[in-house]
Each structure stands twice: as C-alpha cells, then as structure tokens.
C-alpha cells in the first residue's frame, strides 16, 4: 500500500487539521470531529446536519458553508460517526428553528443518527427531523433488505435543501423538500479498481485488469456483478439503463445529470462518460437542465464513477442555481 499519510490510525484527525487550516471560514471541532460554519448558527434558520464515514471527501465536510450544510460529522474511514458527534453538531447549529439530519441509508449511519436524535430529545434539545437518502438502483429495495444505499443524490439534496433552509423556510417544509429530492433522484455506479482502506492496508477486493464491477457502493462493497471491461459508451448504458427503467425522467423541466468520480478516475474520463450519458439521455427524450461533473462523493482511491439523475421542476432548479459557498461547491456568490 502506498498512501500519503502518517499513521493509518491518524488519517481522519490529520485531514481535519489540514482542512481547518485550508478553510479558516470554517470552524472545526477536533474533539468531536465536526465541521461547522465559522459564523455559528443563524437565529430562525433551520440547521442542516449531515455526516458519515470519512473517505468520501469532499462529502460531507466540504459541503459545509453558506447555501448548504451547517455542520458535518466525520466518522472513521467508511464508518458511521458516533451519536456524541451528532449531538454536538445538532446543538452547535440550533438556531431555534429545528435541525434536519440528512442521513445516507446505511445500517450504521441510520442507527447512530437515531441514537443521537433520541439523546437530543431526552435533553429536550432542538427539534430534530431525519431524512434518509436511498437512491442506489443497484440495490433491490424490499422489506427484507437494508434498502437502497444513499449515494449521489445526497450531494444534490444537500445543495438544494441547503438553499431552501437559507431562505428561512420552516423545518417541516425543508424536510418535505428533502424527501421530494430523494424520491426524484436515482443513481448507479461502477468500479474499475477496488479502494484501499488505510487501516486494512490492502485493496478491499481483487478486480482483474480485464474486469469491472457494476452496481458498486461507495465503501468498497463489491458490486452486484462483474463483467468484462468495456468502452465508456457501453459502461454508460449499463449505468443509465437501470436508472431510466426505475423512474420516469421524461417531462418536467429535465434533469440534473451528476457524473461523479470515485477518487482515482481523472476528470478527462468523467467528461468522456458524461458525453456518453448525455447521448443516451437525448435518445431517451430526457432533457439535461444542469450538469455536475467531478469527484464530489469519492470512495478513497477507487477508480470508477457513479451517475445520478434528479428529475427537476422549476423550484428545484431555482434552488440548485442559488448561491453556494463551500469548499466543495461554489457558485453564484
């Protein structure tokens, strides 16, 4: 394993130190491993808290700032943060209008956020509403599984809901909007290589040179099937087809098309994939209203990509276009 680190045990703490130095506009609580906006809670504004395992940067800490999150909890690599962190984040962003927890649908994340919400309620603290993001069409959604994973839609949701919270909308409305975004987004991913968790020291799975994984998660979970390596044109089909057959994307105001890199795939290749995805959407009669292409939700050093489509209306597009000032996303300000 070659990694630009000191000690595998210190990766998250060391990275947070660097992040704090690079972004003096943020406030990093190193003890609780929570990234806050520097200016503190705004009275009357709903606080947005997210978090998850580390290794997905810029998600979530890189999405803290005006127009997006108020705080993000950083867990160990690929491990959900603990309830104490979420309680500290919730208390730290409470401006009297309640707090929305944005949770990706993984067993650990859901349980830890649930325990945190119980702790906050027990201390009669802020009103907390939780929205769980589950958009990965690679996972069969049924009563008998943990349900779909939360992946790319999370990034789009944090941006859109962040804009709505910034407008001063009440908690119930902000939570409804978050659920609406989750319902309208679908994702599918693929990997060319595994990733290497620093503490494990070797790749999570073996993937021969001439093979790729389709239906990959963002924690090095192997995908649903392994197929021979294929050109980007065919990969785009394998990702877009299951998304389009899961939800109708025609009509409305078109989609936000998010082509995301998983860490080791260069932007050059992401644009190649985006062109192929756009051609398929055109053929299917789905209009692209906005695009986002880049590594925004990574899986350490995994090579590969995910495609997310979010069905939009005028309101979602307006909120998407609203100013955002975070380390990871920044426009209109």
């Amino acid at each position: 394993m070659k990694k630009l680190i000191n000690d595998p045990a210190d990766v998250v703490a060391d990275a947070l130190r660097g992040m704090a130095l690079a972004h003096p506009e943020l406030r990093v609580d190193h003890e609780n491993r929570v990234v806050f906006r520097g200016e503190g809670p705004r009275q009357g504004k709903v606080g947005l808290v997210s978090g998850g395992g580390s290794g997905h940067e810029p998600m979530h800490g890189g999405f803290v700032g005006r127009g997006m999150l108020d705080a993000a909890c950083a867990g160990e690599v690929f491990t959900s943060p603990v309830p104490d962190q979420m309680v500290a984040a919730t208390q730290g962003v409470d401006g009297g209008a309640g707090v929305l927890h944005i949770v990706k649908n993984y067993t650990g994340d859901v349980m830890n956020f649930e325990m945190a919400a119980e702790l906050v309620a027990a201390e009669s603290g802020a009103e907390v509403v939780t929205v769980v993001v589950d958009d990965d069409v690679a996972v069969t959604d049924s009563l008998y599984t943990a349900g779909r994973r939360g992946v790319g839609t999370t990034v789009l949701l944090e941006k859109i809901v962040g804009a709505a919270a910034e407008e001063g909308r009440p908690l119930a409305e902000v939570a409804d909007l978050a659920r609406r975004v989750d319902d309208a987004g679908r994702s599918m991913g693929m990997a060319l290589t595994s990733c290497t968790v620093p503490a494990a020291g070797k790749p999570t799975f073996d993937l021969p040179e001439d093979q790729m994984e389709i239906g990959i998660g963002i924690h090095g979970e192997p995908g649903r099937r392994r197929v021979p390596l294929a050109p980007a044109r065919e990969v785009a089909e394998m990702l877009v087809e299951p998304i389009l057959s899961d939800l109708a994307f025609t009509g409305g105001e078109g989609v936000i098309c998010f082509v995301n890199g998983l860490g080791a795939t260069p932007l050059l290749e992401l644009y190649v994939l985006h062109a192929e995805v756009a051609a398929l959407l055109d053929k299917a009669g789905v209009g692209i209203a906005r695009s986002l292409v880049g590594p925004y939700m990574t899986s350490l050093d995994m090579a590969g990509a995910t495609v997310t489509l979010l069905r939009c209306d005028d309101e979602l597009l307006r909120l998407w276009d609203a100013p955002v000032v975070t380390p990871g996303l920044r426009w209109g300000a």
Binding site: G53, G75, E76, V77, F78, T79, S80, P81, V82, P83, D84, Y106, T107, G108, M111, N112, E114, M115, A138, V139, T140, Y144, T145, A146, R149, V197, A199, A200, T204, F205, G217, H219, G220, E221, P222, R224
Partner: protein, 190 residues
C-alpha cells in the same frame, strides 16, 4: 454475576478481538466494508481504558460503562449494536437473563431477524441454550454453530445485503465476533 467475573470476561473478549482482528476484517472485506476487526478492537481497547480509569462500583455500572463507551467510540453498525447489548444487560441479575435482555435490545436496534446473516444468528442460539439451563460453555458452542450456519446464508441486513446472492459462502463478521464474546464468557464466567 460478580464485577470481577464480568471484568475478566471483557478483558478476555478484548484479547480475542485483538487476536482475531485481521480475520474479522478479512471476513468483512469479503462481504462488507473491511472495518469490523479494527473498529471492535478500537472499541474494546477504549472500554478497558475507561474501566481502568474509573473502576465501576457494581456489575450494572460496569455494563453501562462498557455499552456507553462502545456507542461513543466505535461508530458503524457494531457500535450501536454492541453498545445496546451491554447497556441492556445492565438491568438483569443473572448472566442468562442479562444476555437475553441484551439480545432483545439488539433485535430492536438493528431490526434484524434470525437468518438475516447478522450477529443475531450467534447471539440467539446462545441465549436459547442458557435459557434451557445449559452451561456457558454450551452456549458458546451454540454461538459458534450459529456463526457457522451463517456461511451459506444470503445477507438481508447491513452492508452485506447489498451483495445479494454473492454474500453467501462467507461467515458473517458480526456473528463471528459474537461467537468470540461467548467464547470469552465460557472461559471466564462460572
């Protein structure tokens, strides 16, 4: 359950987790996200440190401290699940009753059922053995058999469930660490 016995149990569990850390992580690499060994090792190291720093007055305080430390330090799914197990054990007088209460807490927190390929598949049979009046050693045997029985199962909870049919053929990491918990109990509890 004396405080000394429970302390010996937790120390032995921490040792076993440390010895089997790489094995747990390897199992978790096959069907999960490769962190179970490292996380549980980190959690149990923190538990021993916490118990050392402020020795609990009685068995209930010791179990509560253990559960709270695991919830605070581990994260992932194993933090809330193992944490809840120990927190719920704190109310009972005997080991069988305590383990049963802990088991029920795990079921409520994780919403898994027997056969979902989780720690429940090792913990449930151990509780059943104890409730039937069998020894802790026999309960540990039942947990090990429960662990082995997870090998052919298709996971229906946790990250392994995302693999569908491909999750079959590997022992569940949570059931494996739970079998270690019972092995430690067999070696330390009368």
């Amino acid at each position: 359950m004396s405080t000394e016995e429970l302390q010996a149990w937790l120390r032995r569990f921490a040792e076993l987790v440390h010895e089997h850390k790489d094995e747990l992580t390897a199992l978790d690499s096959a069907i999960g996200d490769a962190d179970h060994g490292a996380n549980l090792d980190r959690g149990m190291t923190a538990v021993l440190a916490a118990l050392e720093e402020a020795p609990p007055a009685d068995a209930a305080a010791l179990l509560k401290k253990t559960g709270a430390t695991l919830v605070s330090k581990v994260g992932g799914a194993s933090g809330p699940l193992y944490g809840t197990l120990f927190l719920r054990m704190a109310g009972a007088d005997t080991f069988p009753a305590a383990l049963r209460a802990g088991y029920e807490g795990v079921l409520a927190r994780g919403k898994a059922e027997p056969g979902d390929k989780t720690m429940v598949d090792a913990l449930g049979p151990a509780c059943d053995a104890l409730d039937a009046g069998r020894s802790v050693a026999e309960a540990a045997q039942a947990a090990a058999e429960g662990r082995d029985a997870t090998v052919p199962l298709v996971a229906r909870k946790g990250r392994a469930s995302y693999l569908g049919e491909r999750s079959a053929g590997h022992a569940d990491p949570g059931a494996t660490s739970t079998a270690l918990l019972l092995q430690a109990a067999a070696e330390t509890l009368s």
